[in-house]
C-alpha cells in the first residue's frame, strides 16, 4: 500500500515533469537565422554582439549552434546535411584557412561578390584566402607557443625551434592534434614551412619526448595549461593580452619562436541550400562592419579583418605581431594536407 507521503512525492514528481515539458515546448516565433559556429565565438560574447547588431539592422533573430571547435562544427554541418538532405544552418562562421579544402570538397558554401557584401571592399587582399570568393575573412591572428611564466622563467624559455628540443623541456608541451584542430594543424604546417617536406618529420621525432600530451582541441589543451599540467602549449599570439586584460595577470607569455608565428585566418560563408539568402548576406556584411569588427579584439582575442576597426591601446601593446609571419599557400595546403597529416600520424603516434 502506498502511504500518503509517497503519493505526495509522486504528485510532486509528476508536476515537475509537466512544468519541465511546458517550459521546454516554448518555441521561437518570427524569422530566425541559424548560424553554426565554434563555441568560443559564443562563450566569449561575440555572438551577442553580432546578434544585437543583426537584430537592429534587420529585425530578425539569430539562433547560434556552437557545441565544439571550428573544424568539428564544419564536419558536423556536412554530416548533418548529408544525413538529412537539407542545410541545417544558413550561415557558418569560423572556417579556418586550412579547412578550405574540406569546405570545397563537400561543396558547402554559396558564391559571393562584393555587391553581396559591400564591407568586403575594406578587407586587405592578403587575408582574402578564398580564390573562389565563397568565404569572407572576418578575423586573423598568429599561432605561436605560449608559456606559464610562474613555472617557466622567461630566461629559461626556448627561443628557437632547436631550443624547444632541449631535454630540459621533457613532458612540458601540450600539443594539439592536427587531425581535429586547426590550431594543431597550423603548428604542423609551420614546422613544414620551416623544415620543408623532407625535414619536418625528423623534427617531430625529436620533439616527441617533450610533449606531455596531445589533446583533441584547443579548449582542452588550454584547460590543462591553466590547471598547471604543463608550462608550454600551442596557442595564439594574443594570449598575453587576454591574460593581462581579463585576469589582470602577467602569467601567460607569448613565445614567438624565432620571432615568428604562423598565420591563421577565419572566414564565414553562406551555406548552400539556405532558404534565407538575403538575410544571410546581410549577416555577413554586418560581421565585417566596423561596429562589429571593433569588438573582435577583446571578445575574440584575434585581429579584426577590417583594419579600420578600433581597439584599445593596451590590447595592441600586448599582442605579439610576428615580424615575418609564416604561411604556406592555401592551394598548396589543400593539395597536400592529407598526406602531411598521415605522415605525421605515422611518425608521431605510431610508437
Amino acid at each position: 500500500m502506498l502511504k500518503a507521503s509517497k503519493y505526495l512525492v509522486l504528485i510532486a514528481l509528476a508536476a515537475g515533469f509537466i512544468w519541465m515539458g511546458s517550459a521546454v515546448s516554448l518555441s521561437q516565433q518570427g524569422s530566425t537565422l541559424t548560424v553554426y559556429t565554434y563555441s568560443s565565438f559564443v562563450s566569449y560574447g561575440m555572438a551577442d554582439v553580432v546578434a544585437q547588431a543583426f537584430k537592429s539592422a534587420t529585425g530578425a533573430d539569430i539562433r547560434f549552434v556552437a557545441t565544439s571547435d571550428s573544424r568539428a562544427m564544419l564536419s558536423r554541418l556536412i554530416t548533418e546535411r548529408d544525413a538529412r538532405g537539407e542545410a541545417p544552418a544558413d550561415v557558418f562562421v569560423g572556417v579556418e584557412v586550412n579547412d578550405l579544402k574540406t569546405a570545397r570538397a563537400h561543396d558547402v558554401f554559396e558564391s559571393l561578390s562584393t555587391d553581396d557584401v559591400p564591407n568586403l571592399a575594406n578587407i586587405p587582399q592578403e587575408i582574402q584566402f578564398d580564390s573562389e570568393s565563397k568565404l569572407i575573412p572576418y578575423e586573423h591572428g598568429f599561432i605561436t607557443l605560449i608559456y606559464n611564466s610562474t613555472t617557466l622563467k622567461p630566461e629559461d624559455a626556448p627561443k628557437t625551434f632547436q631550443e624547444l628540443l632541449d631535454p630540459k623541456y621533457k613532458k612540458s608541451i601540450i600539443m594539439i592534434d592536427p587531425r581535429t584542430s586547426s590550431v594543431g594543424l597550423s603548428f604542423l604546417l609551420w614546422t613544414i614551412s620551416k623544415f620543408g617536406e623532407s625535414g619536418y618529420l625528423d623534427y617531430w621525432k625529436q620533439l616527441k619526448p617533450n610533449l606531455l600530451t596531445i589533446t583533441d582541441s584547443w579548449d582542452s589543451a588550454f584547460d590543462l595549461f591553466s590547471k598547471g599540467e604543463a608550462p608550454i602549449m600551442v596557442s595564439f599570439s594574443t594570449d598575453h593580452a587576454y591574460d593581462l586584460i581579463v585576469n589582470g595577470s602577467d602569467q601567460i607569455q607569448v613565445l614567438a619562436l624565432e620571432g615568428q608565428g604562423y598565420r591563421t585566418i577565419f572566414g564565414a560563408g553562406i551555406v548552400k541550400g539556405t532558404k534565407q539568402e538575403a538575410l544571410a548576406k546581410q549577416l555577413l556584411n554586418i560581421l565585417l562592419s566596423p561596429q562589429v569588427q571593433s569588438q573582435i579584439a577583446e571578445t575574440e582575442w584575434m585581429i579584426p579583418a577590417n583594419p579600420n576597426a578600433q581597439a584599445r591601446l593596451l590590447w595592441f601593446q600586448n599582442v605579439v605581431f610576428p615580424g615575418s609571419p609564416e604561411s604556406l599557400a592555401a592551394e598548396d595546403v589543400s593539395q597536400n594536407v592529407d598526406h602531411w597529416i598521415d605522415q605525421w600520424v605515422n611518425t608521431v603516434l605510431s610508437n
Binding site: F17, S43, V65, S68, G228, A230
Partner: protein
C-alpha cells in the same frame, strides 16, 4: 471413428495452429525483427559501405587499413589496454567485493548501489574527476607536495597508459565487484570452514577453495570489463590524450571530424568482427563456468562496528586501510565533480555557488549546447522511459524464449540477442544515422530511443533470464489448469513473482539510456539533445561548472535507479 473423426482431427489441428502458433510466432518474431531492422541491417549496410569500392565489393580497403602501421598500432593498443584494464579491474574489485560480502554496516545497501554509479557515468565527467584528483596539479598531488615539500608531482598517471587503465578500472571494477560479491555471498561457509579444519593456511584457502568457486562471477565480470575497455571512447581521449587512440576513437574521428565515411565504415567493420568474437567468447565463458552454485542462505556477515573493542582492534587496521584506499579511489573523482559543481573561481578565491544548478534548470536557449539545458534533462528522462518500455518488452520476450527448457538453437539465439553488448556504440550510431536518413523514420528521437533500446536489451536479458530459468513453471501450469489463459497466467502469476528482476531490468535500461553518449552523439539534433551529450558539449566549450552540475544531476538520477535495483533484487520471492 472414420471420416467424421478425421475431419474433426484436421479441424482441431488447424484451430490449434492458428490460435497457438501464429500468435506465438508473431510474439517471438517481434524482438528479433526489431534487432534485425535496427541492429543487424544497419550494421550490414555499414559493412557494405566499408567494403565497397569503385570496383564493387572487395577487401581492398580493409587490407589497406590493416597494413597501415598507425592502425596496426591503434589495434594493438586497443587490445593491450583492454587486457590491462581488465586485469586492473579484477584486482581492484576484490577489496570492494570482500568488504561488501563479508561485513555488515549501516548504509551497506546504499554503498552497494552507489558503486554502480561510476559504471553509468559519462566518461567526460569521469575524466574531469580524474583530472581534478589525480592530475599533476590535482588535489592528491597538491596535498602530497604540500605534506612532504616536494617540487615535482609524485603521482604522474595521467597522459599515459596507466591513467587510461586506472580510469577503466574505476569504471569496470564495480561491475566485476558486483559479480564477485554475488558469488561470494552465495559461497557456503562450510567449504572454507572444512578447509580450515584440515589445517590449510588462509592464503591457501583463498587460492584453492575460494577463488575457484568465485570463478563464474569473476569470469563474467572480467569479460564485461574487457569488452567495455575495448569499446571505450572518450575516456581514452580525455585521460590519455590524442596520442592514445582506440578503434572507437578512430571511427569517431574519421566519421565526424575528417568526414572519411568509407574509412570509418571499414574501421567499424573491423571493430564489428572483434565485437562478434567477444560476444561469442563472453557467452562461451558464461556457459563454461555455468556450474551454478545452489542458492544457499546468504552468508553471515560480520558487523563492522559490533562493539568498540573489536572495531578498534589492530587486526582491523589492514581492513580499514583497504576500505579507505578503495573508497578514496572510487569516490574521490565523484566528489571532485561534485565540488566543482558548487564552486566558482573568482580571481584567486573559490566561492560556493548554486549558479551552475540554476543554469541547469534554465529553460532558455543556450548556443553552447544548441538547446536549453532543461530541454536536455527533459529529453533524457523521456528517452529513458521510452527505452525502458521498449527494451523491457522485447527483453522479456527474449528471456522467456531463452529460458525454455527444451530449445533448439539456443546458443545461436542467445548470441543474436546478446551481440549488442559488445557492439561498438559509435559504429551503431553511425549505422543508424545513415539508415535513418534512407528510411521514412527520420525522427531523431525515435532513432535515439531505438539505439538505446538495442544497447539495453542484453542487460534486460541478463537481469531477467535467471528469474525466468529459476521460475517454477508449475506455478504457471497450475494457473493454466485452473482456467487462466496464457496472458492471464503471465499477468497474475509470473509477472508479480519476478517483479524484483523486472524492476532491476527496467532500472538497468533506464540507467543505460540516461548515460549513453557514444551512439547518441551521432544521432543527436538540437531538439533531441540529452544530458550526457550536453555535458560533452559543455566540456568542449569549457563550461566546467555547468558540466559538473549536469553530471551531478545524472549521478543522482542513476543512483536513484540503482538504489531501486538494490531494493528489489534483495526482496525477491524465494522458490523452494
Amino acid at each position: 471413428m472414420g471420416k467424421h473423426g478425421a475431419q474433426q482431427l484436421i479441424l482441431s489441428v488447424q484451430l490449434y495452429s492458428q490460435r497457438l502458433k501464429v500468435g506465438r510466432v508473431i510474439l517471438i518474431a517481434l524482438p528479433l525483427l526489431f534487432l534485425g531492422a535496427f541492429f543487424y541491417l544497419p550494421l550490414f549496410q555499414l559493412l557494405v559501405r566499408g567494403l565497397s569500392s569503385s570496383a564493387g565489393l572487395s577487401l581492398e580497403r580493409l587490407s589497406a587499413l590493416l597494413s597501415n602501421s598507425y592502425l596496426q598500432h591503434v589495434l594493438l593498443f586497443t587490445l593491450g589496454q583492454a587486457i590491462l584494464s581488465m586485469l586492473g579491474s579484477v584486482i581492484l574489485c576484490f577489496g570492494l567485493a570482500y568488504f561488501l560480502s563479508h561485513y555488515e554496516f549501516p548504509g551497506r545497501p546504499l554503498l552497494k548501489a552507489l558503486t554502480l554509479v561510476p559504471f553509468a557515468l559519462p566518461p567526460v565527467a569521469v575524466a574531469l574527476g580524474f583530472l581534478l584528483v589525480f592530475g599533476r596539479s590535482g588535489a592528491l598531488n597538491q596535498t602530497l607536495m604540500g605534506l612532504f615539500g616536494l617540487h615535482e608531482p609524485p603521482i604522474q598517471i595521467l597522459y599515459s597508459i596507466s591513467g587510461i587503465v586506472l580510469a577503466h578500472a574505476f569504471y569496470n571494477a564495480p561491475i566485476v565487484a558486483r559479480f564477485v560479491t554475488a558469488a561470494w555471498e552465495r559461497l557456503p561457509m562450510r567449504y572454507e570452514e572444512s578447509a580450515r579444519a584440515l589445517g590449510a593456511p588462509r592464503w591457501r584457502i583463498f587460492l584453492n577453495i575460494t577463488l575457484p568457486m568465485l570463478m563464474p562471477g569473476l569470469i563474467s565480470g572480467a569479460m564485461l570489463a574487457f569488452i567495455y575497455s575495448f569499446l571505450s571512447f572518450p575516456i581514452v581521449l580525455a585521460v590519455g590524450g590524442a596520442q592514445f587512440s582506440t578503434i572507437e576513437v578512430e571511427i569517431y574521428r574519421r566519421a565526424l571530424i575528417q568526414i572519411d565515411i568509407a574509412g570509418a565504415s571499414a574501421l567499424a567493420t573491423i571493430a564489428l568482427i572483434f565485437s562478434l568474437l567477444f560476444t561469442a567468447l563472453y557467452l562461451w565463458g558464461e556457459r563454461y563456468y555455468a556450474h551454478r552454485l545452489r542458492a544457499t542462505p546468504t552468508r553471515q556477515r560480520t558487523p563492522l562496528f559490533a562493539d568498540v573493542k573489536s572495531a578498534l582492534s589492530p587486526r582491523r587496521w589492514p581492513l580499514y586501510l583497504l576500505i579507505f584506499v578503495t573508497l578514496f579511489f572510487f569516490l574521490a573523482p565523484l566528489v571532485g565533480v561534485f565540488v566543482d559543481s558548487i564552486t566558482r573561481q573568482s580571481g584567486d578565491h573559490t566561492m560556493l555557488t548554486l549558479d551552475w544548478y540554476g543554469q541547469l534548470f534554465n529553460p532558455s536557449y543556450s548556443a553552447l549546447i544548441s538547446a536549453s539545458p532543461l530541454h536536455s534533462v527533459w529529453n533524457s528522462l523521456l528517452f529513458a522511459l521510452a527505452t525502458m518500455c521498449l527494451s523491457l518488452s522485447f527483453g522479456t520476450i527474449l528471456s522467456i524464449i531463452l529460458s525454455r527448457p527444451r530449445l533448439r538453437g539456443r546458443i545461436g539465439l542467445e548470441a543474436i540477442a546478446m551481440a549488442p553488448l559488445a557492439a561498438s556504440p559509435v559504429a551503431l550510431g553511425l549505422a543508424l544515422l545513415w539508415s535513418s536518413a534512407q528510411t521514412p523514420f527520420q525522427s531523431a528521437w525515435l532513432a535515439i530511443v531505438i539505439a538505446h533500446s538495442v544497447l539495453a536489451i542484453p542487460f534486460v536479458i541478463r537481469a531477467l533470464r535467471p528469474a525466468f530459468s529459476q521460475f517454477d513453471l508449475r506455478l504457471y501450469e497450475a494457473a493454466r489448469s485452473l482456467g487462466a489463459s496464457q496472458i492471464r497466467s503471465v499477468l497474475d502469476i509470473v509477472l508479480p513473482l519476478i517483479r524484483g528482476s523486472l524492476v532491476a531490468g527496467a532500472a538497468f535500461a533506464f540507467a543505460i539510456s540516461i548515460a549513453e553518449m557514444s551512439a547518441t552523439i551521432m544521432l543527436v539534433q538540437p531538439e533531441t539533445l540529452t544530458m550526457p551529450v550536453s555535458v560533452y558539449y559543455l566540456l568542449s566549450s569549457r563550461q566546467f561548472g555547468a558540466a559538473s552540475a549536469m553530471s551531478v544531476l545524472m549521478m543522482l538520477v542513476l543512483a536513484f535507479s540503482f538504489v531501486l535495483i538494490e531494493r528489489f533484487s534483495e526482496k525477491r520471492f524465494q522458490f523452494s
